[in-house]
Assembly symmetry: C2
Homo-oligomer: 342 residues x 2
């Protein structure tokens, strides 16, 4: 279940705004189309955004018609700027853009056509790496999951948020594939409903038992003993372990600790921002009011109502039991153990 597919210079994306009632694809043959697809959340999820950005740069580079190597690099830099500006919070985006741009810089003495080919190869490599990373991460994480566990997840950190297999849902898949019986509670995840639309759909497709709940029910089910652990993805992790993820994650983490339930973050190392010390430095994207006041054109709130719509929140490290990465499971003190990854 891959949300993206690159072939013959065209990136085909599942339009995640239209799931689960319609499975339709968007074709991007220019970097601007790729940029819009990220901004408009046709593709979302930190790892998937990163690889989509990489393909966008490869597509943009292929179309550059510059007279000199310098002019080529200048145009490439402009493309990278556009891709960078699509969304502010997930650091995988900037990580991917940097990796692509550095690939070009490292080969600046080659002719543009060679660099163009190298950029396509690099994006394809990142795509394949992402799947391998998720499988490694899933394998490490599944050791934390006992047979019969019921796992709460928030938003969608599944195959649809990555290049395949998923991070949080990758751990769940790995646990299931190792023979454990797993049940999942999926928060619907307002306002964009990634849980109701994407996680529920993805797990149903995969035959993993899932119960959909509203976000405000998670605490009730934790208190009633229905939940054995929480696993979520991440959009950016500071070097002290503070984690930005989909709005509502902080609340789930507080409720988990209050009820003595382990709270795990599952994310590739590319989600760690080694340049920041704490979550206070992570910019939180504010999205438009209509995402809250309307659903598919249906008006839910009165005309003229003021709305706040932060897309992410930051969970302080003290609420996080462990961070599951492709290199193993990190425990506190995160500052020391994240530093050890460098």
């Amino acid at each position: 279940m891959r949300p993206l597919d690159f072939k013959d210079g065209v990136l085909r994306l599942i339009d995640q705004t239209r799931l689960p009632t319609e499975l339709v694809y968007v074709r991007c043959s220019t970097y601007k189309e790729v940029a819009s697809s990220i901004t408009d959340m046709i593709v979302r999820g930190a790892p998937a955004i990163g690889v989509t950005a990489a393909y966008g740069i490869a597509i943009g580079a292929s179309a550059i018609n510059a007279g000199t190597k310098e002019a080529f690099l200048k145009e490439l830099e402009d493309i990278c700027s556009v891709i960078r500006s699509t969304r502010p919070t997930a650091v995988n985006l900037f990580w991917a853009v940097d990796r692509m741009y550095n690939k070009a810089l490292d080969n600046r003495d080659s002719d543009p056509d060679t660099i163009k080919e190298l950029l396509v190869s690099e994006a394809v490599k990142m795509d394949h790496e992402d799947v391998e990373i998720n499988k490694a991460l899933g394998s490490h994480g599944s050791k934390l999951i006992s047979d019969g566990f019921t796992i709460l997840t928030h938003c969608n950190a599944g195959a649809l948020a990555t290049c395949d297999y998923g991070t949080a849902l990758g751990v769940i898949r790995a646990a299931r594939d190792s023979g454990k019986n797993i049940n999942v509670y999926a928060d619907e995840t307002r306002p964009y409903l990634q849980g109701a639309r994407l996680t529920a759909w993805e797990l149903l497709q995969d035959g993993i038992p899932v119960t959909l709940i509203c976000d405000n029910m998670a605490g009730h089910f934790m208190k009633s003993g229905a939940i054995d652990c929480v696993i979520v993805g991440a959009d950016r992790i500071a070097t002290n372990g503070d984690t930005a993820n989909k709005i509502g994650t902080y609340s789930v983490a507080v409720l988990a600790r209050e009820n003595n339930i382990p709270f795990y973050v599952a994310a590739p190392i590319s989600t760690i921002d080694f340049s920041i010390e704490t979550g206070d430095s992570i910019p939180i994207e504010e999205r438009k009011a209509a995402e809250v006041t309307h659903i598919k054109g249906i008006q839910l709130a009165p005309d003229g109502i003021k709305v706040a719509n932060p897309a992410f929140d930051v969970t302080p490290n003290r609420y996080i039991t462990a961070i599951i990465t492709e290199k193993g499971v990190l425990y506190p003190p995160y500052k020391v153990n994240i530093d050890g990854l460098k």
Copy 2:
């Protein structure tokens, strides 16, 4: 702004399922229509349900055509049973039915026509009392609110949930009316969206500044320092102070305590169930899956998804800073102080 209005034997209700985009009324001229209006949440909110039930019994009694006093009382008992079975959690419903039935029993020696008149008078009296109670409650509660406070509320404990003025929103109105600048954050309150549809509408109508957020954003705004206190209503309060209220209230209470924010419950004494010691004895209504999977016919989740939809949760007394009633503000130990109300 009254959600209900009784005149010439007919109860007119604002259809709260159609707010805020349409202000339309439902007319109930039989007790069965009143019962359906409660079950279908055309009217909701514990105090409003109580008074609606009372009017339903008065309407039902008026239509009884019994040969004897005994037959009249038997038919009245059957009507009370139907009204009782409409919703299970809000205790005001049972309190109101008991009060009406006892009114009839106390006058069992009168002829049925006299009892019919007494029941109408009793329902009207309960209606008027509710408004007075809310104003008294608001006046007590407003002393807890400082000028410039930003108050978070969940669901709708406003005029629309009562006969007028509101409980949680009554405190806010009283604070505003005493000259304080008050801002409100309203949780949208999935799945039924009482916050987005009703609280936002009601406060906008009343000129009180309100910001609509999704339920999963409340913790983020508490952590960021935007919220000075939380005020919610209640559907049933046990004698130890444990409080059943709209699903999500427990989560808000935990997040408030975690962030050292006062958490207040505003409710009339009729919401206290003196027959139960703890919240464990409060039945939690499970409502249908379609409330979660669909909004106004729009499908949000995949076909065949399993859903949990508890309409309420129980907030343990340790999270509740104070309970605001018409007789004053109750503080812990609630067991002692609630007992003192008897």
